[in-house]
Symmetry: C2
Subunit: 321 residues, 2 copies
């Protein structure tokens, strides 16, 4: 994965993915004590940046009978829509206890959803059998060069949009699960905006990347669930993404769940953007953990907005007007 | 007001106003039975397109000790922020019974708020005295050429963004109060995308523009209040805007309030954008009144997102998931 792959991916997604805006509000600047810019990837097609990587990977396929992915969330919807647009069948393996709406949305985007029982079945075994039988190409959520390159197109846009605002130095905060978005953006900024430094942001208790960057090796989370930031609870950094993050990223930032809810309420009132908890975590870091950030301006990547209504209402009720 | 003024305004707002995205969702296409594109002006600075016109007018001033505006809503915030950025004092005349949050926000954006008693005082008298005393320039919400030109920059962007999506023919639905946004967009599209036709959209019972276009003269609404679309309840079409609308617009579309709430819930779930009722009315027309629209694609301008929390929660509760 390198900058040339990101530029090639940018060519392939042009006119298909949205060029999301870099938003700001004087009210957020006041809270943070510095200028805050928000790259609003919740406004991407299917409601998260995952569509970029999915389109990048699907559009790079030479010969395949279709695609397959394991996901209960944002990657599923990105792959489903990208495959549909390319006229390819998509199979998404989802746990049978996934939220009904996510299953329904993935089906509505044209994918065949295969449900499995988390307790008694292996999604890998099911997936491998289906892939072999039907000539399906597996699209991994982050350990795939074309996927990382697709997420990196976000970084090309940030470099250009930040320069238009006169920002060429400072921290770029990125919501971090497996590290596909983080590694992709870091690679793009190294080339196009070397004064901007990526900082991964993770939920309290799920700080595998932060600890891995500190120790120099792959660290694991101690638990698999227990944060509202469902989209970014990956057990450990990716095989492809971690070496890139190690080379290019500054220290990670760890944020408690309640700050994500506060950031969701402020994104609603001040930016008019709907964020999910994991998609709001970098904005939360910018607003409430500024002591760990350097520079007179900060850029927060708001990565997704696929939130259930009760969780969104909780954010407004507890931290709204 | 003409296309040259709009292009000049575009030059002045560049780097200051957001270039808002043209969003879409396959789920909205399914509801409408045609492709739906949403120009998301709720993502504009201060949460509505009004910032464009305010910046256009303030930046065109040659000599003034400051600016003054009458408004309890979106125009107030746009003028306040534009004036602050130009280092000019701003006085906003607001009714003393305006929502506390709107008064607070306008003050927080640096404006001096002068409250008046709707029942016993005339805002015009207060405003004229202040303007003369302090050399303040009055910025009208829609009957001002520079304001209309600023709103028209939305149309330049629509022409370009629609062409990128292969859309060069069809209806462009615009939320319509006094007609500044409608007239501005129509003038821009006449020049840059003549196959796109503007259609004003108004709330049921406040269809002064629709009836004026039908009768050929200025018609008035019978009431001043009674719709949740507070931002677009203007008594009659503007003096400058109506002749432009008459020359360029197709017939108006009238939408009941409950459809605006439904559209707000869908903008939340499918586009991740926060809309206020009046800002959602053109999307409501696109989704639920398609029998009055022509073409295989439709563009809806979602003009603002400054909604109070109880109204937003009502939309989600009644029409959400």
């Amino acid at each position: 994965m390198n900058i040339d792959m990101i530029r090639a991916a940018a060519g392939r997604i042009q006119g298909h993915a949205n060029r999301t805006p870099l938003l700001s509000s004087p009210f957020l600047d006041d809270i943070a004590g510095r200028r805050v810019f928000v790259k609003a990837e919740a406004l991407q097609k299917t409601g998260s940046f995952k569509f970029r990587g999915a389109w990048s990977a699907v559009s790079a396929l030479k010969n395949a009978g279709g695609v397959i992915a394991f996901s209960s969330g944002n990657h599923a919807q990105g792959v489903a829509l990208a495959a549909k647009a390319h006229g390819l069948p998509a199979v998404i393996i989802m746990p049978s206890d996934a939220p009904a709406m996510k299953i329904e949305n993935t089906r509505a985007l044209g994918a065949e959803v295969v449900l499995y029982d988390r307790a008694n079945e292996s999604r890998e075994t099911i997936g491998e059998a289906l892939a072999a039988e039907r000539d399906l190409h597996l699209i991994r959520p982050f350990d795939d060069s074309h996927v990382i390159a697709g997420q990196g197109t976000t970084g090309l846009e940030i470099a250009q949009q930040a320069a238009e605002q006169g920002v060429t130095e400072g921290d770029v905060l990125v919501c971090c699960g497996g590290g596909g978005l983080t590694a992709g953006i870091a690679t793009a900024l190294e080339a196009d905006a070397p004064g901007l430094r990526v900082r991964p942001v993770e939920p309290d208790g799920f700080d595998d990347v932060t600890r891995s960057l500190a120790s120099g090796g792959w660290e694991n989370n101690n638990q698999a669930t227990g944060s509202i930031c469902d989209a970014i609870l990956t057990p450990s950094p990716g095989q492809l993404t971690f070496p890139i993050m190690q080379r290019l990223c500054g220290p990670g930032i760890v944020v408690p769940d309640e700050d994500c809810l506060r950031a969701m309420a402020l994104a609603w009132s001040r930016l008019k953007v709907v964020l999910e908890p994991g998609g709001a975590i970098s904005l939360a870091a910018a607003l409430f953990h500024g002591d760990q950030i350097e520079g007179e301006a900060v850029i927060a990547v708001a990565s997704g907005g696929n939130v259930d209504q009760p969780m969104f209402e909780k954010a407004l009720t507890e931290y709204g007007q």
